[in-house]
Amino acid sequence: MRLAVKVIGLAVTVATIILIAFLGSMIYSLYTTFATGEAVYFGDVDYELSDGSITLIIPVYVNNTGLYDMTNINVTTVVVDGRGNQLSCATTTVPVVKRDSTWQGFHELTISLSQIVERNLTYLLFEEADLYTDVLMSFTYAKAMTLGVSVEEIEVPWGPPLYGLNVTDVTLRFEDTTPMAEMWIYFENRSPIDLVGALTVELRNADGTLVATGTSDLNTPSWTAWSGVIRMPLEDVDLITPEGEVWLYVTIGGSLVGPIVIPYSGLGW
């Protein structure tokens, strides 16, 4: 009995020493890894426009200089507007970064312009605003401890692609013998992406019936203004009413965004 007790006592002592040594080495390793300031860092953001969405491509670097592996690395970002509407949520997962190794990849955050219109958040297309981003990063270290770091409500300025969109001078006139409707359109592209695509305009009367339609090419680099006159032939002049709506569609990145509805009044010959 005495020998058995001694063996148990010795085993407990040795196991405790090993556990404390493991804990100590893990904390030391974690500290030295993160003290470099380059254990996990993000590069310069790049922007891409495709399928009617703005994608923010954020390079992520993980440099594990510690004694143990980093597993289940998870980076999650959630973007909401000032009214609390969630605009985007993205997660990047890295299964493992072994000790003394590095990993680099991209965290892609997509904001869909089509969804902005669908969810009636069109103010984001026309007005400057502040977006709020929550960032959560977590990983398991040495398969024994999970560390999570989160920062909430990081303020990020939002640049609208159609800032100050204005439709004016909606008029009717004859071009030779063809009845035409025309209007002047102006906006500034304050987004970080270049708008390349087409602008389609539909003139609808008070009943919502399509009266005329026209298209113009768009090529508006970031932080430049676009203005132009859209001319549309009228097939049936009797459909014209003094009040109505202008429906705008923007084809950008291969996707149709719209309609953006702007009312007009006082239209006549």
Binding site: M1, R2, A4, V5, I8, G9, A11, V12, A15, T16, L19, L23, S138, K143, A144, M145, T146, L147, G148, V149, S150, V151, E152, I154
Partner: protein, 146 residues
């Protein structure tokens, strides 16, 4: 019991109390570690101090009561108390901290449940060992009387 034996036990208790937590408490208090940890882990001071105090108190009791069954009772009680205290003060292995950095606040979550589980297991084994030792001690006493 002679005064020499009592002095020996007191000295042994003092030395073992120093080894089993006293030295860590001194390092923690005298090297400024307490001031460094306090802003990051507000409960850190309480966790370290209370754990060290429990270990020191039990070690003194165990050394002073050597040769009696109460030594094993205290040994078992120490295993249970230290494990319960560790689990309670560390929120059962999940620590949540808020660290202000310039204008933002970093919310840090440390989940070390596997490590806590290992400590709990060692505590249970220690308790089992103390119970076996107490039974062994009691049976030997009975045998001596017979």
């Amino acid at each position: 019991m002679k005064a020499k034996d009592i002095a020996k036990r007191v000295l042994s208790a003092a030395v073992w109390a120093l080894i089993m937590g006293g030295e860590f408490l001194l390092i923690y208090k005298l090297t400024g570690m307490a001031e460094q940890i306090a802003p990051i882990i507000p409960e850190g001071g309480m966790i370290i101090t209370s754990l060290a105090a429990v270990f020191i108190a039990f070690e003194i009791g165990i050394r002073l009561l050597t040769g009696t069954i109460f030594r094993y009772v205290l040994d078992g009680a120490r295993a249970v108390t230290s494990v319960a205290l560790l689990a309670y003060t560390t929120n059962f292995g999940v620590l949540r901290l808020a660290i202000p950095v310039e204008e933002i606040t970093l919310k840090v979550t440390v989940d070390f449940k596997p490590i806590l589980a290992a400590f709990l297991l060692l505590g249970v084994v220690s308790l089992a060992k103390s119970i076996i030792e107490a039974i062994d001690f009691a049976s030997k006493k009975v045998e001596e009387e017979v």
